[in-house]
């Protein structure tokens, strides 16, 4: 196939996809000449190119469709039938293109059927032009506006990357030769031409306004700062970057062993450049999720017609980007779920009217980023899942017994729709209900390490939420050891780590031969990794102790028992050899920094190995419990350090639990430091006197915020406990918030805020605070989750009932929600709405105009303080001044008391 033809295929396929979407829009809005103009132009271009390349079938079809559209352009009334006909034609065009791509030549065939129908419609349309004359007059005028708009609208297409990304990727490689400034070459010659096209259009007759544009049109569109790059090239680039990352890791490992190596500085630089290069290349693989949604409007339209339903498809967050590999994998499941919503979820028009709902049903797709994941929600406002029917089906298929069903919650029953071969559609329609349903969706999602969740309210609708990793190429993994071998467990599925010991509260118990763990009054099924994998070696297995990696896969929660837990690491996933792919316990291999190869555990494989039904119930009830008590329960990390007393910090404050080899801890200027993630991390001890282990590894709690990390040296990590935090005795000892009873044991609650400045004196120049009062309601607004988490226990210790908000607008929403607050503490430097604006907004609302507000800020110059006073803050406390904040809160409380 020659390049010309190949380019034509790519262009045309893309154009047809656009036409598909635009036609559906046009049908809903037949008077929108801009849309029609756009469609007309695209079809015309296809026709023109086909003629040029000598593709008569395509040309004839495109011509017939264009003629009909020409009539609409001239003002003939638009009929649904006509649009359907054009859509059919587009499908046929795609079919031919598909064959053309495979065979390199137009397939034999006759399109007389379609063409004659199109022509018949064109004639029919001719008969009634007068009726729509006003539209015709309007039509030519807005047309010119359409083109520039389209040029701007055009998003990056599959396989395309923005020039900026490429430029950046090239720059990172630091080539000796300067890279030619591509955008300048690509853009200018096109711009004048595009302008010319625009200029011509108003003058041309409405019937063929784009004739002069022809192929130039495509050039005009391409004038963007983008470049088509072969996907293979990008893939190869990615592979090379992965290699580079590995080599870098190996170098770092070597240099770590050599003190004062002269390589340190250049290696640091290499490390940074590599990281940026990796970032840049990853970005080139990113595509907006809208690409996977492109076909949905058409599908929904066709379904609506077929099923006689009126359906509105709303799409939010189409620009959210994710790795193209992931995108490819979720395309089909998404389509399937939208079909499901349209077919089963939404009721017919009549039913909807009876139920008092708008006749038009809505399917909503939304996507957004959350951490390293993308969350996609598909919701409809239909009838919700039919629990009774699912129950019946469960019984029919012997998936559960009646007695078991009795005990299940609705949500648990709903989960069965993910069971293989499960379809509740009463009638098998052409749309869905063929028995391949949600189970396939679930399998696909599982394969890429995603999770799927479902919520359904009878009569109100169903929402399916999918959470998937942004990329599959590099993942964060927890490195564990079992029977002397190391394995990587993808962080995505790890919920928490529990250490089980013979005499501690957490110990492994057995029911017959099945190991279980009591975790927060629930039984967690356990599996010993070494038994599961049938490996021996290392320390002999201790039946009652070990590290438990609490893992969640879909609705299943279980614990994987391992001998040792090391650190987390960003690993480059390498596919497994075909000789090993049958082992479902592993999903891939990776090379660690020290050069050794380890296997990546596939939690899905383990989940299916230990059986599906055991753990579901545990998870459900636990999840329910969590939801119910979200506010009261705080996860605490319990450990020992310095003294025998148990100590604890809120788990949410801890970034990571690490163990470092003692010999890697260095001393400089009387401080202990350790190399951590390419930087030096200061170590701080609880007691002030550094007691390091004499050999082996030293456990650390790592706290990070804004790129800084501090390691708190501890003797032993005891457990992670989820409990209501009730600080009973407040302490005057620096570094302690007070004592609380955690799981029946008196535990000192550490004030991390005391330790952070020990590591970096200026840590709090940016963030921080503390309080005193009786049970008063306090609203705390700060954009940093770290400080929100940190101060919640601090403020609770001071007797406040704390509600947090992540920003000014969220804070206002909470205030407007009706809860009365005695005092508000707000950060000043926040994105979007800053503290000043927040205070002003509060002052302008009568309901909270009198509520005292305290500002917390690192800006302590007189001007800022004055500005705060004007904005309406009662008091202004420097972030570092914890005592000051307590005093300020106390004062405010007194004022309120006096006023009352």
């Amino acid at each position: 196939m020659d390049d010309l033809l190949r380019e034509f295929l790519t262009e045309t396929n893309e154009s047809l996809d656009v036409v598909d979407v635009e036609l559906v829009r046009f049908e809903q809005d037949p008077n929108n000449a801009a849309i029609l103009g756009n469609i007309f132009r695209l079809v015309h271009t296809i026709k023109g190119t086909c003629g040029f390349l000598g593709l008569p079938r395509l040309e004839a079809l495109a011509h017939a469709a264009e003629t009909l559209m020409g009539k609409y352009r001239d003002g003939s009334p638009v009929t649904g039938q006509g649009v359907t006909m054009i859509l059919f034609t587009i499908d046929r065009l795609k079919e031919i293109l598909g064959d053309l791509e495979g065979a390199g030549a137009e397939p034999e065939g006759d399109d007389g059927d379609l063409i004659s129908q199109l022509e018949a419609m064109s004639i029919a349309a001719d008969a009634a032009p007068a009726a729509a004359a006003p539209v015709a007059e309007k039509a030519p005028a807005p047309a010119p506006a359409a083109a520039p708009e389209q040029a701007l609208e055009r998003a990056l297409r599959p396989g395309e990357v923005s020039l900026d990304e490429l430029e950046r990727a090239f720059r990172e490689t630091e080539a000796e030769v300067a890279v030619a400034p591509l955008p300048e070459i690509a853009a200018p010659p096109v711009a004048p031409e595009a302008a010319k096209v625009e200029a011509k259009k108003p003058a041309a007759r409405p019937a063929k306004p784009a004739s002069a544009a022809g192929d130039d049109e495509i050039e005009g569109v391409k004038g963007q700062q983008t470049l088509r790059v072969n996907v293979d090239t990008l893939e190869q680039l990615m592979t090379m970057v992965s290699e580079l990352v590995l080599t870098r890791n190996q170098l770092l490992e070597i240099v770590r062993r050599h003190e004062d190596s002269e390589f340190k500085v250049p290696l640091q630089r290499l490390s940074n450049v590599t990281a940026e290069l990796q970032d840049g290349v990853m970005k080139t693989r990113m595509q907006p999720i809208g690409n996977a949604w492109q076909k949905l409007p058409r599908i929904v339209r066709d379904l609506g017609n077929e099923l006689g339903k009126q359906i509105d498809l709303e799409m939010h967050g189409a620009e959210t980007e994710l790795d193209r590999q992931v995108l490819d994998l979720i395309k089909d499941p998404l389509t399937h779920m939208v079909r499901n919503s349209a077919d089963h979820g939404l009721e017919g028009t009549e039913q909807r009217r009876l139920a008092g709902k708008p006749e038009k049903g809505t399917i909503k797709l939304s996507a957004y980023h959350e951490g390293g994941h993308i969350v996609i929600a598909i919701s409809d406002d239909g009838r919700g899942l039919n629990t009774d029917r699912i129950k019946k089906k469960i019984l029919e298929q012997n998936l559960a017994t009646e007695a078991e069903l009795e005990k299940m919650t609705e949500a648990q029953i709903h989960k069965y729709i993910f069971a293989p071969g499960f379809s509740t559609a009463a009638a098998v329609t052409s749309v869905s209900g063929r028995g391949v349903g949600m189970d396939v969706v679930r399998t696909n999602i599982d394969q890429i390490g995603g999770t799927i969740d479902l919520k359904s309210v009878p009569g109100e609708g169903t929402t399916v939420t999918i959470k998937i990793p942004l990329t599959l190429a590099i993942v964060s993994a927890l490195i564990v050891e079992s029977a002397g071998d190391r394995f990587a467990v993808p962080q995505l599925s790890v919920i928490e780590l529990v250490r089980a010991q013979q005499n501690s509260e957490h110990r492994i118990e057995r029911i017959k031969d099945t190991p279980v763990l009591r975790l927060r009054n629930k039984l967690l099924p356990l599996v010993h990794l070494r038994q599961l994998l049938g490996i021996a070696g290392g320390e002999p297995l201790d039946e009652t102790a070990g590290f438990i990696v609490v893992t969640q896969v879909g609705s299943q929660t279980f614990g994987i028992v391992v001998d040792q837990v090391f650190h987390t690491e960003e690993i480059v996933v390498k596919p497994m050899s075909s000789k090993l792919r049958h082992i479902t316990m592993f999903s891939g291999t990776t090379i660690l920094g020290d050069g050794s190869v380890i296997m990546i555990i596939d939690p899905n494989g383990i989940a299916s190995a230990i059986g599906t039904d055991v753990s579901t119930e545990v998870n459900e009830t636990e999840a329910d419990a969590r939801r119910g008590n979200e506010r009261q329960l705080i996860s605490m990390l319990v450990f020992r350090a310095g003294s025998r007393e148990q100590k604890a910090v809120p788990l949410s404050l801890v970034t990571r639990l690490e163990e470092v080899a003692v010999d890697k801890i260095e001393q400089a200027h009387g401080r202990h430091l350790v190399q951590y993630r390419g930087a030096l991390m200061p170590l701080v001890s609880v007691s002030g006197y550094m007691e390091l282990k004499s050999e082996g590894s030293q456990p650390l709690l790592v706290f990070s915020d804004s790129g800084r990390s501090m390691g708190l040296v501890v003797d032993e990590i005891v457990d992670i406990v989820e409990d209501a935090l009730n600080i009973e005795v407040s302490a005057d000892v620096p570094g302690l918030l007070g004592s609380a009873v955690i799981k029946g044991q008196a535990t000192e609650i550490l004030d991390i805020g005391h330790y952070l400045p020990l590591a970096f004196e200026d840590w709090f120049k940016r963030k921080e605070m503390r309080i005193e009062a009786l049970t008063r309601k306090l609203l705390f607004v700060d954009d940093s989750p770290f400080f929100r988490n940190m101060l919640t226990p601090v403020l609770k210790a001071a007797g406040y009932d704390v509600v947090t908000a992540a920003g000014g607008s969220e804070g206002l929403d909470i205030l407007k929600g009706g809860d009365k607050f005695d005092v508000v503490v707000s950060d000043i430097e926040m994105p979007e709405m800053n503290g000043f604006e927040f205070a002003e907004a509060m002052r302008s609302d009568k309901r909270f105009a009198t509520t005292p507000v305290i500002a917390l800020s690192s800006l302590t110059n007189p001007a800022a303080i004055e500005r705060a006073r004007v904005a309406g803050f009662h008091d202004y406390v420097a972030k570092f001044d914890r005592q000051g904040l307590i005093a300020a809160l106390k004062e405010t409380s007194n004022e309120i008391a006096q006023a009352a």
């Binding site: 080599t247 994998l533 050899s577 000789k579 090993l580 291999t589 050069g595 190869v597």
Partner: protein, 152 residues
């Protein structure tokens, strides 16, 4: 000379359990010392593990087990022959590597019919050399495992 050189095949010779084997040189990527082999639980017994060879992940196949030769006590596989198949890298663990031989088809013979079936599957014939016999290893057959073994 001209006529024979066309038919001559070059073999990398290796020793496995005292027997001389020959691999067509065109299939041999490299010869290396297997270092830090990571065993793969649940894998086929022939698979000795995976290792990192200059950033590539190589699946190592223990030729002794593959051929049913008992492992000598404490005898670590000293060498590996790197081969590539369908974009994947493999390492055949062997005892030692010998010289490269240029052999003409004249000395080549079919597998004796009474050859151990495990050997017959991976052997593409035998060369009569002076003083000993060299079994030609059919690389593709060596790698074509799993299916046959699972079925057995």
């Amino acid at each position: 000379m001209q006529t024979t050189s066309d038919d001559v095949t070059e073999y990398v010779t290796v020793l496995i359990g005292g027997q001389l084997f020959g691999l067509p040189i065109s299939r041999v990527q490299d010869v290396f010392m297997p270092d830090r082999l990571t065993r793969v639980p649940l894998s086929h017994p022939d698979i000795a593990g995976v290792l990192n060879l200059r950033g590539r992940i190589v699946t190592a196949i223990d030729m002794r087990i593959r051929l049913g030769i008992p492992r000598e006590k404490d005898a670590k596989p000293a060498m590996a022959v790197g081969i590539e198949s369908r974009g994947e890298s493999y390492g055949l663990l062997i005892d030692s590597v010998g010289e490269v031989l240029k052999l003409s088809p004249d000395s080549r013979e079919q597998n004796p019919i009474n050859l151990d079936s495990r050997w017959a599957r991976v052997s593409a014939g035998v060369h009569r050399l002076e003083g000993q016999l060299m079994v030609i290893l059919d690389v593709d057959s060596v790698l074509a495992m799993g299916g046959e073994q699972l079925a057995a």
